[in-house]
Symmetry: D3
């Protein structure tokens, strides 16, 4: 059954944004600080037993100069400069092994898969990147409320900074054409991609599938499903924290990042998605400041278009690059 | 928690087999008949937008001369003759799109993914192959009891025949080395691979991950989970059918196919797998007549080793081919 | 809690119908073809160990001349011509044994219970009628999407034709008064009864309890429960099939059959019925072209009025026959 | 999956019984007292709109002289004396309407369906008999622990007494042959039938399908399902009550009633029945003191043989009566 | 997610009340009758092993002169007269032991915890008070429909009368100041407190947290959760009982009691409370005739403010007493 | 139903322990380091609005000199030296407010409730203590696998050290008699109490209710419930980590702490406890090196004896202190 408003209403839903005055300054400072702590990225060749791709085990400096892992894959024998997709991972997953990430290199792209710090122990995708920062105050098990009492200690501040640093890392790689870098992801990965889209200049394209991390307040009203439920749980226990929490979140809302983005973007949404309710996705989509398109999957939940969306992504990115 | 016996007991579990006297004759006749109805396979080039692989949309003649679909992928530019993996799909899934099947070609193999007739509408992998045979008598929704009242009309007779025909199809392909064909799959795909292993001569290797379709009677005792539960449901409704059902199944039991197999085989099992309980997997493994190894994942359920098992498969198949 | 709109809104809900131009021609041809393939029905006496009823094991020719089973019961010693109720069964059930069908003969009617082809393995009512037609393309496990890609191969084309043939069968029985034939059923049986009501001339009455198979598009929006969920699942996997699917369904929608019906009809609906949401029932009811009444059970789910509805049915049918 | 021990072990399971010394005296006194409070039964003709059966709305004096309701059905026109089945109802259900109880009269029997006092509000079968006795001490919602602190106030003391009084009531009816009275029921009804079997002399047959109310202590160990779980819940809250509770229950255990029964009995059991675990059924069966048989349904849960068991009942009762 | 209307709408929701003409007379007679059957309350010293409080095991005469149990606690050494809180317990719970009830005496109050007759076997709080009145007609397992066919036999008639008697009991205790008696409770206890608020003159304050037993008809529409679901279940089985049931309930509706209350009241509500939906709470709150305040917990379910609400209660009661 | 072995077997279950050679040295070093980083504890008077107790908001130095919060309560007016109970909290909970912790001071004890670092956002008990240490490597959401790859960074190293420091803190408080300090807790709190029992000299008594954190390997085999399931999940994702994980855990196993404890201990266990399976509790109990007793609750799950166990605790501790 439909889990949110009818499509007509969704298409017109463009709620007021709540962007802090110092939003841009805050992020400029955050990123500058990270850059100042960065070490040179390491690309260590990795034998995945594959003949059509070359793999590297990547370590680059993320937030706080913390080492962040990833896989870098290229079509074997490609000489570059290649367009490059930087991909972010869904909630709970980690970078796993290169075998799980063959699609973009098969399509002719350099491909960096960024491990999400601290994640990669819950599902099928194991992770390798610790989060050396403390959790901070008490938090709901999960990641959405880690450090939420304070914008500076909030977990996604570190993750979004890692994402920007990932883009900067590939841009310096000799096989990559720095003008043809794409950010992409689904669910949490889509939310991270939106953050990168709002924080990085000159991206060639953005792909945000069924994005998480958008329009938090509406999310708590529209769904009881995890992981947005972590937020509700936190507020149900820490009964005085509401104002502070939403103030923190205003620095990390995909709706606000969307309003600062300029690269062509492809969104997707499932009208029966109770995990990332359609109204939260359209809130970001309708505020997206660059060229934008959205693929609506009317009978799907959080899986959205699945492999069909992958095909559309490849086509969309190809056309965006051709047009750029 | 553990869902079946302790590992020590599992390793020694080799139950009596119940093979019909005419098991081999039955299958010889079945396969001969299918071959007599076969039309030449079609390999139609398919543009999947990929640069590292070449793809073909395959149609070959399965049971009854029915057209069965598949994808054929090779490393782009490979000239062959290549070793080839014929892969069978888990319960409910279909061939989807080539983007979902990049791993074996990336590892340097020709790769045929066989659509499972009638399946591919329930999960994330869409299918394209109708099953033109009638369901036959009333059956539990699902596939396990379709036509189960009669060995000749049983659904898996058609599927297993399709599988043998898939092997025969790739063996005739100019890019494939017919002496280096491997059958592989997980869950239902693993059960189909075991059937092929028992029915086809001269395979180079067999991979059966957490295989389904083995030791049915034990399965109904050891688990209440789908899809083995379809069998229990059928017998709970058709209260006189027990003898007839298990007689039919004796022609389709992975335990019996295993006893006729000779190629080196890699099994895997999850000790917390309530879908395909470990005792049913070890029953087949311990009767396997060829060289055999098994990877035990002590903390996993039906996902078994997931990508880690994929890595092991590639290594195992590589070594098997090197040794052959 | 209420699962759909308030009763006031439901009573006025009469959505636009989507009837294909050739709806009547399509069905005329379908039925003519079935009649042309028919063999004479067989009524074999059956000893159910009962003293107040006589039973026959019935086999009549349904769609494609396929043999369809049923039970025929009459009050023992009745000489006729009797009014006759043709009853259709709920989703998943089969004809079971005569002991399960004593109510209409006890009330003085001849009673034909039609087995639903292919069903009768999932619940408490075993079935005996195979569906000799192939499933056709991949389908969700269940019956609602079998052959849905093509109106000619759609499962319910066969079932609805069987239903018409069942009426024609009893009309030729010497104990039955052909002018006093009633069609009845609940849930799927109610949907089939509506189809028969729209396709058969001269019925004496129609009983459609909590009918399934009505207003499919609304159903996918209003409920996530089985079996309407099969439709959503199908469309979630076969992402291009929407138009084709709803075109097929327009030939099989209770809303359209209702608009062609003329016999007096008794509907029922449960306002907390998440299986067949009230709006889908009222859509058919409000389009019903003959005399009509509906029994609203405000606190019930899909069970509707249960035995209380049975009592009302007997009263309604008695009055309809008295009035005819 | 199997929910209890393997069948071999079940067949030999005959646990020690724990029968109080004054078991027989207790029940003699209880029944004598009820008889002394009895008023003459009333059989009021009831128009159920049926032509093959005659119906009476029955009120007879149960425990404490409390009025207990029931339906009495006979094949219309039967002159008697008829054999008569007294039927008891499953947990939560009430007598509903005659339309729900056509099977025994259809088979040629007089049939009394006894309402279970206080029940008939939870499921599909509405009840009409209040329980005028107080619940007594705090009890788990449900019936199993009502008054359990004291054998004299225990709920099933009243129900079992009602059951004996029901038999005595039909024995005095002019249409009934008092030497051919059968007690029957399933689940709770089977447990009540066992109680009647142990308390009433000269019954012609006993039918106890998947009986409840047997071997309580084992039940709390073997299942967590309702309604036996009410007992566990009670003991989990009233932590000092264990000895007292099991002392009360020793007067109400089907195992003890079975040991005093003499009429031929047909039991049934489902090997996957988590509601009334097989070991509790076999405990009663293996202590049954009269001629006995059991129908094992290996693939069924609490539904046991369903209509198939009904057919067997009719056959068994017919043979028992023929033999008597 | 939000489970009822938005807060704005809730704040204005003041539905028509349905108060019977003889509401006040009915309760006057009921209470007068109970008083005429009362025996003197017993306060038996109880050694709970505690040093800061004194405890008494209380037995007072409730409805029908039935003995009702409770605990009476005072700060050890207090000489009085003390303000006193009479507390009622949530659904299913009993008085447990004094260790569970230390908060009000710790805050300086005399404290009577009233056992709820018949309850205290389902959860963590054991009860000791039988309900000597019969259940009456068939009822859904639970308490909400016990005796619901008749206002005089309805379960909550006895409980509400017990509550009034509890207040009268403490008012006569030498340590208690009868002008400073407060009634309090959460969920069912809140509903009972509202009843007492409407029936007792001169209370000093009322605390009704997330109250149950308010606005029954809306409750059946707004939630499917227990215990309001007992009402829906009853009406789903007893299909003719609707009018009678709601007539009975009109004598026991918190909305009506609220309209007769005069003492200052503190309500609380959880906007995600599916057990006692916010609209039912606001219906009572908005009809409350005395000074009133409500604490809205926007992210909480039925737990409402939990310990935070306890702190607010203590503060509110302290201020109310200071102001009186 | 029973969830583990029968009681007889449990009573004798004393599995081999796996204690590292440097277990004692490891902990000595860990604790010495913490002591070296400690700052003087702060006891800030807190107005909880209570008259029978005095409250202090406590901050003491735990592991790494990190500030750990707690509440300190004494019977108002007590002059000491008082016996003191240090209480640890169940999984997920925090120190909440003093109103939730009145029992020990009511019984005449000084009482320190230690906040569990990082916890207190998931349930009803809010926490106030951040965990300033990083989570370390990827971990399952929850606490059981935080830092599990390395004994030095393991989460419970910090918690257990906090617990020892809590005891040391109260021993220095002027109102506390350092020779009469008791450690107590349930579930996680019971596991922490066992750790303290093994690490602290001269405790007067130990109370470990249904303790968690014991015999981890058995726990993963015996239950699939949270939070032990976090361990299984971790090992299902990090498939090479088994040896390392269990090596880490050998430093944190209640079974090993029990073997070093000397103070009189009261355990409790619920035979239907699927959260902390009885075999894991008995493993610790049967290795406990001091005087020991256990209260078995045969019909309870993880709630164990609840308030009844509280009463027993107070009695046990009273006797232990009297005897010491």
């Amino acid at each position: 059954m439909l889990v949110d408003w009818p499509l007509d209403r969704l298409r017109e839903y463009r709620p007021d944004r709540n962007e802090p005055d110092d939003f841009r300054a805050y992020w400029r400072n955050t990123l500058d600080q990270a850059r100042s702590q960065a070490f040179p990225a390491r690309f260590q060749p990795y034998d995945a037993g594959l003949v059509t791709v070359e793999c590297w085990d990547v370590t680059f400096a993320g937030f706080g100069g913390h080492p962040v892992r990833g896989w870098f894959l290229t079509p074997r024998g490609a000489t570059g400069p290649l367009p490059c997709v930087v991909e972010f991972i869904g909630y709970g997953g980690g970078r796993s092994l290169p075998l799980d990430w063959l699609h973009w290199s098969a399509a002719g792209y350099a491909h960096l898969v960024m491990d999400t710090r601290g994640q990669g122990s819950n599902g099928s995708l194991a992770g390798d990147t610790p989060d050396p920062a403390p959790v901070g105050g008490p938090a709901v098990t999960g990641f959405l409320t880690r450090g939420i009492a304070d914008r500076d200690g909030y977990y996604y501040r570190r993750v979004f900074t890692d994402a920007v640093r990932a883009v900067e890392t590939v841009r310096e790689h000799p096989l990559v054409d720095p003008d043809r870098v794409v950010v992409a992801g689904g669910s949490q990965g889509g939310g991270i991609a939106l953050a990168a889209a709002g924080l990085v200049e000159g991206l060639a394209a953005v792909v945000a599938n069924v994005p998480f991390l958008c329009h938090y307040r509406r999310a708590t009203e529209a769904t009881g499903a995890a992981p947005y439920s972590e937020l509700t749980t936190y507020l149900s226990v820490h009964r005085d924290a509401e104002e502070r929490v939403f103030q923190t979140l205003s620095y990390f809302d995909g709706v606000n990042f969307a309003a600062h983005a300029t690269a062509p973007a492809l969104f997707s949404v499932g009208l029966r998605d109770a995990v990332c309710p359609p109204s939260t996705v359209f809130a970001a989509y309708n505020h997206y400041a660059g060229p934008r398109d959205i693929r609506v999957w009317p009978y799907n939940g959080h899986e959205g278009g699945a492999v069909r969306q992958r095909v559309e992504q490849i086509r969309f990115v190809g056309e965006a690059l051709a047009g750029s």
